[in-house]
Symmetry: C2
Subunit: 454 residues, 2 copies
């Protein structure tokens, strides 16, 4: 029987593991250590807090340390794990309030330390008002700065930048997004990514600028050491009141160096399908772990809150002696820019080619409901199918129509490797307020079927 479970990390996976484990095992001792001043919050909601769709940061907190205390789970705030000693079954914890370091023994350890922003090595990166967005404190700082600003620069063309863009545009700022690649949203095919760019620029003409293929080489500050200008390799100089870095994250695993715990892609913690690491008594869950991609059959690293919750739940069930297999992920992501949804599952056409698949694709632009319904909206879907197996490899969806529904319709078919021939006649429920008589996902499948059989 497990006696003392120590959990490191307080974002999504750690608290989820703790809560689920308590339900499974009422008597086990559970201690959770986190370097932050709060736990169990939705980092994914931060852009909507900045936008002020959510007024109070407390709204994002799912459970407080007091809530956990009632479940007999001890939460230790401002306590950072600096070392894991698997042989002794101890961790070293640094008390950030006084920097003292102390040892904590464990029977079972759960590593759930998440991810941390990658800070690009750019001249002037340490100027004031250059922010990352990962914690609630980050969100509060950006929101405060936003309210006293007229213009901002966002680095990186991923989801975070698009979400922060909406927040800033909705609060009246002029915003410039700068992306090093020739397109934003690098996991998408360029044709669809460029449509998103066009939409974003077209929605607020003059207020928004998106620069692709531009590298930032320096930030220039004013007399107060506050960022005032962003300089690109091509010589552009963009005045700004602040900068938000959306330049990626990496696993928060530096403290595991030398521990003997096996690391995988990008130094994420390698786990098996039970969420166990290479060490018998050590589990890991959430953004700090690697993932298995069920489409490519390759290990990958995709840090996401939904995966973190599922992994934490699985880890808890297995720690409690149950049997939960987390088989893998499908690279599913979604975001929105105002009413416009942006989503991809599986792999893009270009990735399919790179990976050696023989892909076929279809692009369908259609309304999401019966065309005569007054609230129907358009959307564009790009479906990718493997010519050899006739299974779906991926779907990209963009538009003001209900893209999410279509993405979710295709996802289980990717998981189950359903043949195109079965999928294209799928009995989707039909009513004019919900879809056309033949749903756009079925149109896409039918078009590919015709291409394969034409």
């Amino acid at each position: 029987m497990t006696e003392k479970v120590v959990i490191i990390g307080g974002g999504a996976a750690g608290p989820k593991t703790a809560a689920k484990l308590r339900r499974e095992q009422p008597d086990v001792q559970i201690d959770l250590y986190t370097q932050e001043n709060i736990i169990s919050y939705s980092a994914c909601g931060l852009p909507y807090f900045i936008e002020n769709l959510i007024q109070s940061p407390e709204t994002l907190i799912i459970r407080t340390p007091e809530d956990f205390k009632k479940q007999n789970i001890d939460i230790h705030l401002y306590q950072k794990c600096v070392k894991v000693n698997p042989d002794e079954q101890t961790v070293l914890i640094q008390d950030l309030t006084n920097n003292n370091i102390y040892e904590v023994p464990y029977t079972i350890l759960v590593i759930a330390t998440g991810a941390i922003p990658v800070i690009p090595k750019i001249d002037g990166i340490n100027l004031k008002n250059i922010f990352t967005l990962r914690t609630i404190d980050d969100g509060i700082k950006i929101k405060q700065k936003m309210y006293e600003s007229k213009k901002a620069v966002l680095l990186g063309g991923g989801y975070i930048s698009i979400e922060v863009m909406e927040a800033l545009v909705n609060n009246g700022l002029n915003v410039t997004l700068i992306e090093r690649n020739q397109q934003i949203l690098k996991m998408f095919d360029k044709d669809l990514a460029d449509r998103v760019t066009d939409y974003i620029i077209g929605r607020n003409p003059g207020q928004v600028n998106i620069l692709t293929g531009e590298e930032v080489i320096a930030f220039k500050g004013n007399e107060n050491n506050e960022v005032a200008e962003v300089i690109t390799a091509s010589g552009k100089r963009i005045e700004t009141d602040f900068v938000v870095l959306g330049t990626g994250v990496r696993p928060n695993t530096d403290f595991l160096e030398g521990s003997g715990i096996k690391l995988g892609i990008k130094n994420s913690v390698k786990v098996d399908t039970t969420m166990k690491t290479s060490n018998h008594n050590i589990y890991a869950a959430g953004d700090c772990t690697d993932n298995y991609n069920l489409v490519t059959n390759k290990h990958t690293w995709v840090p996401l809150g939904s995966t973190a919750n599922k992994e934490g739940r699985c880890a808890a069930i297995n720690i409690a002696g149950g049997n939960c297999l987390f088989e893998g992920i499908l690279n599913s992501t979604i975001t929105k820019y105002f009413e416009y949804t942006i989503s991809i599952i599986g792999i893009s056409y270009k990735e399919a080619v790179e990976l050696g698949f023989q892909p076929e694709y279809a692009i369908v632009t259609k309304r999401d409901k019966a065309g005569y319904m007054p609230d129907s909206e358009a959307m564009t879907l790009k479906m990718i199918v493997d010519k050899n197996t006739h299974t779906i490899l991926g779907l990209q969806g963009i538009g003001e129509g209900d893209v999410n529904q279509r993405i979710n319709t295709v996802l289980p078919a990717i998981l189950s490797k359903t043949k195109l021939e079965s999928f294209m006649n799928l009995d989707l429920p039909y009513s004019p307020p919900y879809s056309p008589a033949i749903d756009p996902v079925l149109n896409a499948a039918q078009i590919i079927y015709q291409k394969l059989n034409g």
Copy 2:
């Protein structure tokens, strides 16, 4: 090679067959005969036309005879098929403008005559202002009558009655729905159906009444032979200005009697997966055909516009020498009552028990988006799983939240018989505006998993 294709029926399946066949075979002769005065319209949109969300009935017309003429497809209106002679490869057509009957030869025949309302044998059923809703003419009559009325009675507690109820309530009428069974929505489990009843009554207190377990035994008319009162077996007398019958439909196949073409459930035309009937040169598609239920592995009859479109498309591909298999249906239906979605796929718990499955179920009530998003809404899902195979048998969803998305997420898993263990960790795309970190469908699957493993 096909020379002359004759299509009987002008609703959804017939025109779809014609249009698809023309794309596949530019030169074949195509003639479509229909007893109606228009073709190719969305009957499913009629309630929204009555409600006046759609102002003009023309909006519901997908393609006119003139559109078809441009594609070299001849549409013959007011021409009713009264007999099929498979041995001679001819049909007898009655010209409804003069009642003359003439013979039309075919090489390939497509039967797509749809369904017609069942008129219950009730005293007074022939009084004026007792309507069915199947054609655009029906819709126009009900809409006209609605505008001069204060109160209405709907017979039958199925989708049509709920859709017409919304239309009438939204136009200020007092409405009474009368259902013979102890619940509305008989394909749902009673617990969920009763919640729908509560919602409908609660949304417009005093304006709406739902009587279950009540049989209508007579309609009483006024001096103009207009219906004025509905009388039930328990002695209730309900004053009304008009009645809409939502008491079901049956296949429109009476004219096939004696033709030798095999009929199946409820006298629907038996077809194989290529949409061919028992006769070599005769196909059938749409509401007049039987269906194969992929969950129960039994033949059934579920007349729906979405199925009609897919079947028409498949029939056309096969007539043209291609290969399209329509494998079956999953009993998928959806409707709404104002903002409240009502949907079922697969089978209910009670049906699972009746059919000899050993079902387990979970009911989950949860918000559709992250709870802190200002526009999140609640919904209730009931998932049914087979204890023996751990595959999903059905899902019922109701509520103001985005039920449709969840229904569509589970549907492909039912089709592919995905194991609960794989489904419950499905990598659904997560972002706070689209779902909670763990989606309600996954919660439902997880709860059932716990029940099966607890």
